[in-house]
Structure formats: structure tokens, C-alpha cells
Amino acid sequence: MLPEKITREMFDKLVSLAALELDEEESEYLRTELNHQLAAVKELSEIPIDEDIAPSLHGIDCQGNPPRPDEWQPFPDPDAILALAPETRGRYFVVPEIAQLSQEGK
């Protein structure tokens, strides 16, 4: 039985999973909008669909490119990619450490 509405608690968990953080005003606004959207999509569940209707991943039957040959084609300017980073050290991208990876010890 799926919840009819997203509660504040569910919402906050979702925000955390999404790697976001919101202030009070944003939270309330977005949660309201989310619930409105859920109401709008509610009708989807009531549409009767035959067993044999398959999901459409793309609207048309995509006849695209076959897999490519296994040939090395180096990108001409990897430095340009590194140069985009907000912080680098030498040739590395830098991030702060991850809190929950510190050992719990045995």
C-alpha cells in the first residue's frame, strides 16, 4: 500500500538521499509541489493495461548505431578536463574525506 502523501519525515529522507539540503521555506514549498505532482500522477495507477503491453524505453523503435570497433582514440586534451575542476592537486581531483569511512576499529 503506497503512501498517499509524502510526509515531512519521508521528504527529509529523500532530500538526504538526493545529496541536497533545504531550508524550511524551500522544504515546505517543494514538499507541497511534490504532493501535488503525486496527485497528478495518481491516475496512472488506475489505467488498465493488458499484460502484453510492454514498456517503451524510447517512443520509437530505436534503430541506432551498432557497437563501435575496439580502437584507441585518445582525447586530445585531458589537461583541459582537469582544468575544469574547482580544486586539483597535481594531476588529481581533490575532495574532502568521507566521514563514514573512518574505521570503527575492532
Binding site: A19, L20, H36, I53
Partner: protein, 533 residues
């Protein structure tokens, strides 16, 4: 005659014939931008004067230097007797969702405010190779999320040149406005739920969403990967055809890029509509709209002038020899927006995962304890409300516990929507249509701030267009009049897979038959108040 009054076809013809220099074309269009556009969209805009409030603000970035280099190249080619390309000297603007080396590509978002891609989108590269002059990046809804272009982090957002108190529509609002205001004759936009067609309708220009896969998505910052289509905006149908000719075709860098051959769109244009079957559907003369408290779907009338325009267009086409097929049922049209809410959000949420402040773009300046906090604060500060809303919705409906109920179901409803079109276009079916005629939008351009904030209402602006994205089929919006307020009315033709040629042909026939219509002689407000030399 100032080249800003010319079509792209005519500019290219004159430049290639040596009658007009690319540099002159460029400078005249830059002057037009100066005259009508006002300040460009920016992160920390100043307060706007009343005069600025009446400007178009189509651009985030004007790339005059880049364009000048391109104009020189066109001229050099001509001097050396080389072919400068089918778009030689034609100014084009690019929705700022396309990566273009040598420009910043912001996606209308703070989180990419300084992103300078080391590569160029395939569609833009093709325009460049065809001799086009890239004049600038147009403003848009943030990450293309919206139908009014108001949500951009770069303000002021674009204004509708017909009445600057009204929105351009979105998300290719800057593109539609730039074309309508004669700043560029062509613009490259994207259409995920209607984002080319709806602003085209609002701004009185031609906008085409090609078949999915017809134009390459490589270099397009993704919203809904299974829905996004790059496409042309122009003031005339033949200009749209010309631009599509350059854009269309397989790209090895895009696995979903179609392998179907590209026909000659211009050649087929003038073949007329005699004997073509053009359908009208009762399911497209109203919208199904939900009660946001209960989820109950109700019927809502659309602006009466929209249905009237459809009837008038049908009459014109009938007088040209087309067969109008009434009462074509499209029973699943009503499910278009709910389905879109689910599918596009799931893809969007995932596509936005990569914006984390580590590799490029914005990173918070606040001191953070650890990586998780870096992600959260960067994304919180970098994203506006619309991306946040889409991320949350997308994550919710794709959560393991909900996925079958929402996402898997939506994919199957999508098949039903597709089936409606298949039945309509089936050459051995009951309707055997060459095109389906509908209004493009439920209303003409609404006022600024009128809808922003109501995410459901905003999305429903796309109810008439979104079916083409679900089904993957092509669709074109063309101007079909002005409403009582003087705002543009657009009508739409849906076509079968890879039959852009047919819908262009139908649109062209209508356009040519109504060239002298009074409403086509009206000049948009922003052009009246500007000093155009």
C-alpha cells in the same frame, strides 16, 4: 534592406552569391541585439529600469568574437572559390544547454556558471561546418526544466517580444524570443515535453521537434534522455527545413542516433497538400487536468481561440485540396503529463547526479566537514528550485519500493500513447493520416509570474505537445494568428516517424496560403519600441 528582415534562406543565397558579406550580416544582427535585447541574463543582475523591462533579454552570452571569426572564414572560403556551406553567413543562436567549445555553457544554472566545455555538441558543429555564425547562447529554464524560461538562474529571464509583460514560454524561451525579435533568423533549441514548440507558439515563430534520434544528442546537457530532441526554431517553415537539413543525420557518438537516411527537406516543401489526409482529434480540444488534492481528473476547456485557429487552419488546408479527417480518437493523450512527470523526472534526477562540485562548475565556498556535506551544500547552493523539485520527484518515483507502481507503469502507458499515434498514421488503419492537426498550447503566453510556483499548472502547458516526445514522432508548431490580446497562437502538426518532410510540407502550404493575412503584418511590441536602423 537590413539583413535582419531577411530569411535565413535568403541571407545564405545572397552571401553565397557574393551579394552580401557575412560580416555585414553579422554586424547588422549584432546591432539588432544591442537595440532590442537589453542586458544579458546574469547571476547577480542589477535592478531593471522600466526601459530594460521592455527588452527581450534572450541572451545569456553574446559571442561576437566567435561569430566574427566565423564570418571571416566564410569570406575566406568564398574568396578561394570554396563552398562556404548551406548556411553561409547566417546568424544562429544556441540554447545554452548545448556544449560549445569557446563559450561557457551554463544550462541556465549557477552550478555550471563557469563551465567551459572542451568539446562542441555535434548539432552545433554541423551548423558551424555549414557556415553559420554563432552569435550567442540563449537563456532558458534552468536545465530546461520549465515552460516559461522564468526559472533561469541568469536574470532577467527572456520576455515575450510580442508583449514583454508576458513569458516567452520554455524551456527554449530565449531561442524563440531571439528569432521572434529578429536577433537571429535561426536558433537551436531542445524539445523534451514541448520545449521548442510551446515557446515557438507563444512567440509566433516556427519550431520543429524532430523524430527522436533524427538529430544527435551528443553535447546536449541531458534532461530526459529518452525524450530530448535538438531542433530548429525559425520565422519561416522553409528556414526550419533548411536548418533541419544541416542538423539531421547519424552521429557515431550518440548510440540512439537514427540510421535512417536523411531526405531533402527543402525539395519536398512545395509539393502541396492535395490528397493528404490531415486529422483532427476531439481529445486535443481540451485538457484533462487533475485536482491536486484528490488526483481526480477533470476536463478543462482551453482558450477558445486555439480551437478556432485549428478550424481555420483546417479550412485553409481543405481549400488547398487536403482531406480533413475529423474525430480521430487519441484516448491516451490525457495521460501525457502524468506519464511525463514520472519518466522525465526519473531520467532527470539521474542525469543531475554528476553535478557535485568535484569535477567542474560550482563548488561551495563554505567550509565543509566531509564529502557528503560538500555534495549537499554545493547542490543546495548551485541548483535552483526546479532542479531540486525534479530530483526529488524523480528519486521518489524510482525508489525500489515505488518503481513498479510509478516508473514501470509509466513506461507502459507510454506504449499506449504511442499506440494512439500508430493507429492514427497506420497506412492500412482506419485513419491513414499524413498529419494530425492540434493546437500547440492550451493558452497563449501567460503573464510573468502568473504560473511560476505552481509546478503542476506549469507542466500542463505542455499537454498538447508532450505526446510527440513520448511517442518519439516529429511535430512542428507554426504561427496561426493572434489572440484578442495580440498574442501569438500556434497550431501543431504531428507526423509519423521520420516524416518531417510531410509535416514541413503541410505547414509550408498553410504558411504560403496565408502570407498576406493581416495578423502576419503585425510587428511584435519589442520591435516597435526599438530603434531598428
Amino acid at each position: 534592406m537590413n539583413s535582419t528582415a531577411l530569411s535565413a534562406l535568403e541571407i545564405a543565397r545572397r552571401v553565397r552569391a557574393g551579394e552580401l558579406s557575412a560580416s555585414q550580416v553579422l554586424e547588422e544582427h549584432l546591432a539588432q541585439i544591442t537595440a532590442v535585447d537589453g542586458i544579458s541574463g546574469q547571476l547577480d543582475p542589477p535592478a531593471l529600469t522600466p526601459l530594460e523591462e521592455q527588452k527581450v533579454h534572450a541572451f545569456i552570452q553574446v559571442t561576437a568574437d566567435l561569430a566574427r571569426l566565423q564570418a571571416e572564414q566564410v569570406e575566406a572560403k568564398l574568396t578561394h572559390g570554396e563552398d562556404p556551406g548551406p548556411l553561409a553567413g547566417v546568424p544562429v543562436s544556441i540554447k545554452d544547454i548545448f556544449c560549445v567549445q569557446g563559450t561557457t555553457t551554463t544550462a541556465g544554472s549557477r552550478i555550471l556558471y563557469n563551465f567551459r566545455p572542451p568539446y562542441t555538441a555535434t548539432t552545433v558543429a554541423r551548423l558551424e561546418q555549414a557556415g553559420a555564425l554563432i552569435l550567442g547562447k540563449t537563456n532558458l529554464d534552468e536545465f530546461t526544466y520549465g515552460s516559461s524560461s522564468e526559472s533561469s538562474a541568469f536574470q532577467p529571464h527572456p520576455n515575450n517580444p510580442w508583449n514583454t509583460q508576458h513569458v516567452t514560454g520554455g524551456s527554449s524561451g530565449g531561442s524563440a524570443a531571439a528569432v521572434a525579435a529578429h536577433e537571429t533568423p535561426l536558433s537551436l533549441g531542445t524539445d523534451t515535453g514541448g520545449s521548442i514548440r510551446q515557446p515557438s507558439a507563444f512567440c509566433g515563430v516556427v519550431g520543429l521537434k524532430p523524430t527522436y534520434g533524427r538529430t544527435s544528442r551528443y553535447g546536449l546537457i541531458a534532461f530526459g534522455s529518452s525524450l530530448d530532441c535538438p531542433g530548429p526554431l525559425a520565422r519561416t517553415v522553409s528556414d526550419a527545413a533548411l536548418m533541419l537539413q544541416v542538423l539531421a543525420g547519424n552521429d557515431p557518438k550518440d548510440s540512439t542516433s537514427a540510421i535512417q537516411p536523411v531526405p531533402d527537406y527543402l525539395a519536398a516543401l512545395a509539393e502541396g497538400v492535395r490528397g493528404l489526409r490531415i486529422g483532427i482529434s476531439p481529445d486535443y480540444d481540451h485538457i484533462a487536468y487533475p485536482d491536486t488534492k484528490t488526483g481526480e481528473m477533470g476536463i478543462q476547456a482551453i482558450q477558445p481561440e486555439m480551437n478556432q485557429a485549428v478550424r481555420e487552419v483546417a479550412q485553409v488546408l481543405a481549400s488547398l485540396g487536403a482531406e480533413i479527417v475529423e474525430n480521430v480518437p487519441m484516448p491516451n493523450a490525457r495521460h501525457g503529463i502524468p506519464t511525463y512527470f514520472v519518466i522525465s523526472r526519473v531520467e532527470a534526477a539521474s542525469n543531475l547526479h554528476r553535478f557535485d562540485g568535484v569535477k567542474y562548475g560550482y563548488r561551495t565556498q563554505k567550509p565543509v566537514q566531509d564529502l557528503t556535506e560538500l555534495y549537499r551544500v554545493t547542490r543546495a547552493e548551485g541548483f535552483g528550485l526546479q532542479p531540486k523539485l525534479r530530483i526529488l520527484m524523480g528519486m521518489y518515483v524510482s525508489a525500489a519500493a515505488h518503481s513498479a507502481h510509478y516508473y514501470q507503469k509509466a513506461l507502459r502507458v507510454r506504449s499506449l500513447i504511442r499506440a494512439d499515434f500508430e493507429r492514427a498514421f497506420d497506412p492500412s488503419g482506419p485513419y491513414r493520416l499524413d498529419a494530425l492537426l492540434t493546437p500547440t498550447t492550451p493558452t497563449t503566453a501567460f503573464r510573468r509570474k502568473e504560473v511560476l510556483g505552481d509546478s503542476v499548472l506549469m507542466q500542463y502547458s505542455d499537454q498538447m505537445t508532450v505526446g510527440a516526445n513520448h511517442a518519439g514522432i516529429p511535430a512542428i508548431s507554426i504561427p496561426a494568428g493572434l489572440d484578442k490580446q495580440g498574442l501569438p497562437i500556434g497550431v501543431q502538426f504531428f507526423g509519423n516517424d521520420f516524416r518531417e518532410d510531410l509535416i514541413l510540407r503541410v505547414a509550408y502550404a498553410y504558411e504560403q496560403a496565408t502570407l498576406q493575412a493581416d495578423w502576419r503584418q503585425v510587428i511584435p511590441q519589442a520591435l516597435r519600441t526599438a530603434e531598428v536602423k
